[in-house]
Symmetry: C2
Subunit: 139 residues, 2 copies
DNA sequence: AAAATCTGAAACCACATGGTTGACAATCAA
DNA sequence: TTGATTGTCAACCATGTGGTTTCAGATTTT
């Protein structure tokens, strides 16, 4: 059941941090028009016309942006009559937020640790100035 | 000083939620290879070769990905000798995380409010099924 | 029934993105 | 000096993205 190809796929998957879900969410958030749409939907449902109106682009363009948000599961569409009502879907956003927050916290801990380490190294250098401590002259 | 063009630009800016910084950060996070690079840099500094090694792509391709992370201010590069040492830069990440978290919290509050509202509507609809309620609060 | 409205789909275009290869510069090690 | 390591740059290519216009379908309104 596990041939070479799929084994390579698994490795690739692991090392490459593949997550099509995160791909789609972050890509969706990377465009100002789509963030504007999310902002429009922050408080109330809205149909496509209402969403497209403030955007300075054609209707089909705005519609495509909404589709991108839908693919990322950031927006859900409910068709009632000829009106397509959109609302925010929180789950995907929460996952992206968790990914970001976990990394941020990890790096924050590291920064604290590194700062302490650097302080320690500087203090030690004042005592025994032997090794020139190469990381001093960065930007 | 404020002609029509720049006034339109300002409006566009406001309604479109423009933030090239967020554009760059989210776009940088939207590719699995770049998230993998960030993961490699989670604990230690690394030079480009070390970053490129686990990625299944050519060296220049990996180098481009690092450049994207640099443009987004997610990674900082320090050149020592022929080695380009990269480390994570926390500030841009923190801003993106704050943006996401603020929206997530806002929507979370709204979901609670909406859930209550929907329950209320369902109960009311069982009593008097009249209008399907298109959008009560139109701007 | 007829007209207006809301939306989707398709065709098209300009440009960005993600990948390759090959040549080249700089640095370190022998 | 020779050679290996590290990384950049330019050219090129395939595909994706973001925008337009045009046409057609479904739905509401008159």
């Amino acid at each position: 059941m596990v041939d070479n190809q799929s084994a390579a796929d698994i490795l690739n998957h692991m090392v490459l941090d593949r997550s099509p879900k995160l791909d789609r969410v972050f890509h969706a958030l990377a465009h100002p028009a789509r963030r504007a749409i999310l902002r429009s939907l922050a408080d109330r449902e809205a149909n496509l016309s209402e969403l497209a109106a403030p955007l300075k682009m054609s209707f089909p363009a705005a519609s495509k942006h909404v589709k991108v948000l839908e693919r990322a599961r950031l927006v859900h569409r409910r068709i009632v009559g000829r009106s397509h009502l959109c609302r925010v879907e929180g789950k995907a956003l929460e996952e992206a937020s968790q990914w970001l927050e976990s990394y941020r916290r990890h790096w924050e801990r590291n920064f604290l640790r590194l700062d302490a380490l650097l302080d320690q190294m500087k203090a030690q250098e004042r005592d025994t100035p032997q090794t020139p401590l190469k990381s001093e002259g960065d930007s």
